[in-house]
Amino acid sequence: MKIAAIITRIIQQFLRDKRTLALLFLAPLLILVLTWVVLDQEAGNYSVATIDVPGQLVEQIESDSIEIIDTDTPYEDLADGEVQAVLVMEGQQLEITIDNSQPNIEKALFMHLQRTLSISENSAIQLDVEQYYKAEVETTFDYVGPVLIGYFAFFFVFLVGGISFLREKSQGTMERLFATPIRSWEIISGYLAGFGVFAIIQSIVVIIFSVYVLTVPMQGSILLVIFITLMLALTALTLGMLLSTFAKNEFQMMQFIPIVIVPQAFFSGLFSLDSAPAWVEGIGRVMPIKYGASALTDVMIKGNGLGEVSLDLLILLGFSSLFFILNLVTLIAYRK
C-alpha cells in the first residue's frame, strides 16, 4: 500500500517531466544510431586451433596476429572463447570454423589466411569458411550492438534513478517521509518498483529499435534479452541510489559518471581484454556490465537460452541484492 503510493507518485512525476522521459527513452536510441553510423573496423590478435593441419602449413599461418593453440578439445575451446577459429584439414580442403560472435574476427582472419595461403606453395588448398554461430553478423555494429544495449540501459537508469533519489533528499521530502510511519525498506522498494516500470519500458523500446531498425542480430529469445536488460537496469538503479547517498547535489552525482560508468565500458566486451594482464581481468569481475553484456551477446548472437546465461543473471541479482542491502543500511543510518 505504502509502496504502491510511492510507485504511483514516481510515475506521475515522470510523466510530467518530459525532458527526463526523453533522456530515458530517446537518448539511448540517438546514441545507438550514432554508433551505428560511425562504427569502424579494427584488427586484433587471434588464437586458432588446428586439427590435422600439416605442421608446415601451421608454421606459415602462425604470425604476429595469429597464434596457433595446441588443444585436444578445439570446439569446446571455440565455444568458451579460448580460440577464435578452428582449422581442419580434410584432404586438400582446409576448413575453418570461426567464432563470429566477436567483433571483426571473421573478416580479419579470413583475409589473413587467404593471404598466407596464396603466397605459400599450397595454392591447391581451398579455404572453406563455416560460421560457428547462426547469426548473420556482418558489421562491427552487429557485434557491439548487444553490448551497447546493456551499457545504455545501465547508464541512463543509473543517472536518472540516482538523481531522483538524491533530489528526494536535497528537496527535503525524504526527511518529510521519515516523519510518516513508512519503513525504510518500503521507501527503497517503492523506488525500485517505480523506476522498474520505466526501466522495463526503456529496455523494450531500445531492444525493439535495435533489432528491427538497426538490425542487430537476435538469435535467442527477445523476452530473455528484455529480462537481462531489466536485471542490468535494476543493478544500475540500486547502485545509483546507493551512490547518491555520497553526493551532496546533482553536480556531485554527475561526477560519478567518469568514475563508475565510463570504466565499465572497458570491461563490457567492447574492447578485447584477451591480451590484458590478469589483474585487469580481476577488475572486470566487479563490473556489473561485464555480466550483462556477456549475457546479451550470448543470447542475441550465439542464440543461447536461459540455461547458458543463468550464471550471469544470478551474478546481476547478487549485485542488486547487495546494493539493496547497502541502500537499506545507509538509509536507516541517515534516518537517525
Binding site: A4, T8, Q13, R16, Q171, G172, F178, P181, R335, K336
Partner: protein, 240 residues
C-alpha cells in the same frame, strides 16, 4: 494537566558539536506550546528529535508515553518541516493523496479529509495546480495541510508562518485555536515575538539550552519587563 511530551536530560549532537544541552521540557495535552529562539539555537534539532527523525545522543524523549523514535507513534503526529517538502511536479491534490496513502487513509475518508484540509488552508481553488506554479505562501499552506491531513493528536510545526501574510497568518492561528479546542496539542517553533505571545506557554531556547519555560505573562514577570523580547534578552543575559 498531564504532559503528552516529556524531554528529560536530553542531549543532542551532530558529530562532536553539541546542539542541545540537558533539555528538560514538559508539554501538556491540548496546549499550544511555542519554542522561541534565534536561528541556530537548536529549535529545528529539538523538533526533529521530538518526531524521532533524530535519535537522541542521550536522555529521554517521550511522546504520549512512548520512547521516540517510534514508527507507530508517527501516526499520531503531524509534522511540518521548515523547508516545504513538496513534490513540485505534482498537483496539491496529488501531494495530499500521496501522504494520505502513507498514513494508510482509505477511500472516502481520504477524499473527505483532503477536501477539508484544502478548505482549511484555502487552496481548494488551486488543488489541481502543480506545486511548481505555487507561490511561497501557497507552498507553506500546502505543507501545513499535509501535517493536518491524518488528524494527528499532536502537531509539530517548524516555523509554520514564515512567509505568510498577516491575514492568512491570523486565519492559520484561528485554526490552531480550533485544533486546541478539539484536544490537539500544538508545538510550534518561531522567532517572531508577537507570535510567541499567542502561545499558551513558551520555551525560550538559546545555544541549545532552555532558558526558561512558562506562560508569556509569567516569563515577563519573572524578568520584570513588559515584552517577550525584553524577557528573552533579560533571561538570556542572566544565564551567561
Amino acid at each position: 494537566m498531564c504532559s503528552i511530551i516529556r524531554l528529560e536530560q536530553l542531549n543532542q549532537a551532530y558529530g562532536k558539536e553539541m546542539v542541545l544541552k540537558n533539555v528538560q521540557l514538559q508539554i501538556n495535552k491540548g496546549e499550544i506550546y511555542g519554542l522561541l529562539g534565534p536561528s541556530g539555537s537548536g529549535k529545528t534539532t529539538l523538533v526533529k528529535t521530538l518526531i524521532g527523525a533524530l535519535t537522541p545522543r542521550n536522555g529521554l524523549v517521550q511522546v504520549d508515553g512512548v520512547q521516540m523514535p517510534n514508527l507507530k507513534k508517527l501516526n499520531d503526529i503531524g509534522y511540518m518541516a521548515q523547508a516545504d517538502a513538496l513534490y513540485d511536479e505534482l498537483t496539491a491534490n496529488e501531494n495530499l493523496t500521496f501522504f494520505a496513502k502513507l498514513y494508510q487513509m482509505q477511500g472516502s475518508y481520504r477524499n473527505k479529509r483532503i477536501t477539508e484540509v484544502l478548505e482549511q488552508v484555502d487552496l481548494l481553488q488551486d488543488k489541481d495546480k502543480r506545486v511548481e506554479n505555487f507561490s511561497g505562501g501557497m507552498k507553506r499552506r500546502l505543507s501545513l495541510g499535509i501535517a493536518l491531513l491524518h488528524e494527528p493528536k499532536i502537531l509539530i510545526l517548524d516555523e509554520p508562518t514564515v512567509g505568510i501574510d498577516p491575514v492568512l497568518r491570523n486565519r492559520i492561528w484561528d485554526s490552531f485555536y480550533k485544533l486546541k479546542k478539539s484536544g490537539v496539542t500544538v508545538v510550534i517553533t518561531t522567532h517572531v515575538m508577537d507570535e510567541a505571545e499567542k502561545c499558551d506557554r513558551l520555551g525560550l531556547l538559546r545555544n541549545g539550552s532552555i532558558l526558561a519555560s512558562g506562560t508569556p505573562n509569567s516569563l515577563k514577570e519573572q524578568a520584570g519587563v513588559e515584552t517577550i523580547e525584553e524577557a528573552f534578552l533579560q533571561l538570556g543575559s542572566d544565564q551567561s
